[in-house]
């Protein structure tokens, strides 16, 4: 009896090992199933989903106009003080003073891409871009000004 058990033990052990080897060996001879993506080369073919949260950007149309009213809702919604909004007062032709955006400061190095600012924005002025290559050699480059120079608020956005 003992001998029989011993032999069946050895047989089962060898069989289980060979099953494992069959799996790895199978992949070895089927290079078609390799899943590696060759990253820098396939940059052009990279298809990031439109919802991917890479960094916050401000949308500008062809007239270099944005929709930010400088209401600071995003600044309040941000958990890490990533956004700092500097406002100014525009004087309209009629001589009326109106609060407007001066600089939208965005600290990429503090951002956790949580999307709360985009959710909070009442006018849809900011959105998440799909860019994920954020490495720079100088940390100060990560502090960005999101409104383009010379841009102004679109007509009719309150």
């Amino acid at each position: 009896m003992f001998i029989k058990e011993y032999i069946s033990d050895v047989y089962k052990a060898v069989k289980s090992l060979l099953t494992g080897m069959k799996t790895t060996g199978g992949y070895f001879i089927r290079p078609g199933e390799i899943i590696t993506q060759q990253y820098p080369e396939n940059r052009d073919q990279l298809n990031l989903p439109e919802r991917f949260r890479g960094e916050v950007v401000m949308l500008h149309d062809e007239n270099n106009e944005h929709a930010c009213t400088g209401c600071t809702a995003c600044e309040l919604a941000c958990p890490n003080a990533t956004i700092k909004i500097i406002t100014k007062f525009d004087v309209s032709p009629e001589g009326k003073k109106k609060k407007a955006l001066d600089t939208f400061v965005y600290h990429l190095e503090l951002c956790t891409m949580c999307n709360l600012c985009v959710e909070a924005c009442p006018t849809g002025a900011i959105t998440m871009a799909q860019n994920f290559e954020h490495s720079v050699f100088d940390r100060s480059k990560l502090t960005k000004k999101l409104n383009q120079p010379g841009s102004k608020i679109r007509e009719g956005v309150e």
């Binding site: 052990a13 494992g20 799996t23 919802r51 991917f52 919604a77």
Partner: protein
């Protein structure tokens, strides 16, 4: 007891530092940087030869004071930080927080949002168990399973990326529902994933489960009896492997779990192999839940209407959910303001880790890796 700090350096004579005089025991530090601790866990182990006499876990290397931080964040903001606790089940962490806030606001979540939440939770659970499977095999010295596990996990990550916008720290659950509606591709992608999972799961058994070396490494190692599991406060697969029925989804059903058909996977042996089998079974059960829901997502809103600034009424609120590692409890004390007065997380990893010393005593150093691997520790979850 250990003499880690009392080492006398002697340049003329080689001394093995940390050896305890006269006992033949020596103290080694596993971690904070060690391949098997999956992070910055520090274990001070007293060894006699290869046999473990005592384990002292030292925590705090990745403590970010998430609980304290949350006290200064609003009820919408504090949720995103919890993705960084147990990063492998970040969805479920967010879910627990969102549910607690909803409990305080007495908010009804639309049925569509509930189904989306459960779908995401179960996908996260599968992804978490996939990663655990690969990492555990790597602890035992088999490197190849890791890559096979990541192939399937990648499919889930892609689904998450498409719908939630991120692969690891989703921040998709918000008080009142979910942040965005499902992506149009979601159902097709999930069905593709289920197909892929079912086509590849047999490899897991061929490569690891059935392997004789693996079984010998796992069976009878790190045994935790049901009584001990309860007294150490173990939850999740660790407790279920000892025969303790502890699935929050069954015991205290939340969202739509009471309407779903799934089994609570339990084993009785309480050893590493039982924990392994429980997790493998849970993957199948999660797939079963996803299959039930994927074609039956109700139409409707994905988010309930909420005020711009959330204020919880004065009081204490507690919710518990079943993460991939066990029971996560979120306890909020509110003073009626816009930020919580106090937040406490009951994380599953911390209690599970506390049983490690009891489980590993008297076993070999190699067994410790098997035991730790099947505890499925995520260190940021323990330290927070």
């Amino acid at each position: 007891m250990y003499t880690e700090t009392q080492v006398i350096r002697n340049n003329t004579k080689v001394t093995v530092d940390g050896a305890l005089d006269g006992t033949g025991e020596m103290v080694i530090n596993v971690g904070p940087q060690h391949p098997a601790t999956h992070g910055v866990l520090h274990l001070v182990i007293t060894l006699n030869g290869e046999t473990i006499q005592k384990i002292e876990p030292h925590l705090g290397y990745i403590h970010r004071s998430i609980e304290k931080m949350s006290e200064s964040l609003s009820y919408r903001q504090f949720i995103y930080v919890t993705s960084r606790m147990d990063y492998l089940s970040s969805h479920i962490n967010n879910h627990a927080c969102a549910m607690t806030v909803e409990k305080g606001l007495q908010l009804e979540v639309p049925p569509r949002a509930q189904v989306i939440r459960v779908l995401m939770d179960e996908l996260t659970r599968v992804a978490s168990h996939e990663l655990w499977w690969g990492a555990m095999a790597m602890d035992l010295g088999a490197f190849t399973p890791f890559f096979y596990a990541f192939r399937e996990r990648e499919a889930i990550s892609d689904i998450m990326e498409e719908t939630c916008g991120a692969r690891l720290t989703m921040n998709y659950m918000v008080p009142g529902g979910v942040m965005a509606d499902l992506h149009p591709n979601f159902q097709r992608r999930v069905k593709d994933f289920i197909k892929l999972f079912k086509a590849k799961i047999h490899e897991y058994d061929e490569l690891v489960t059935g392997n004789i070396i693996f079984q010998n490494r796992m069976k009878g190692v790190g045994v935790l009896s049901a009584e001990d599991a309860v007294s150490f406060g173990c939850t999740g697969p660790v407790a279920r492997a000892s025969g303790v029925k502890s699935d929050i989804r069954k015991l205290y059903p939340y969202e739509i779990y009471d309407k779903l058909e799934f089994d609570e996977v339990t084993e009785t042996a309480g050893d590493s192999f039982a924990r392994y089998m429980v997790r493998m079974g849970e993957m199948h059960q999660s797939i079963r839940i996803i299959e039930q829901l994927i074609d039956n997502i109700p139409e409707g809103d994905f988010q309930a209407k909420t005020k711009a600034v959330l204020k919880l009424p004065k009081g204490e609120f507690y919710t518990r959910v079943e993460t991939a590692r066990g029971e996560l409890g979120v306890y909020i004390v509110s003073e009626g303001g816009t930020t919580p007065y106090r937040i406490k997380y009951r994380s599953p990893g911390f209690s599970n880790l506390s049983a490690l010393d009891h489980m590993a005593r008297g076993s070999k150093l190699g067994d410790l890796m098997a035991t730790m691997g099947t505890l499925d520790l995520v260190i940021p979850d323990i330290d927070r």
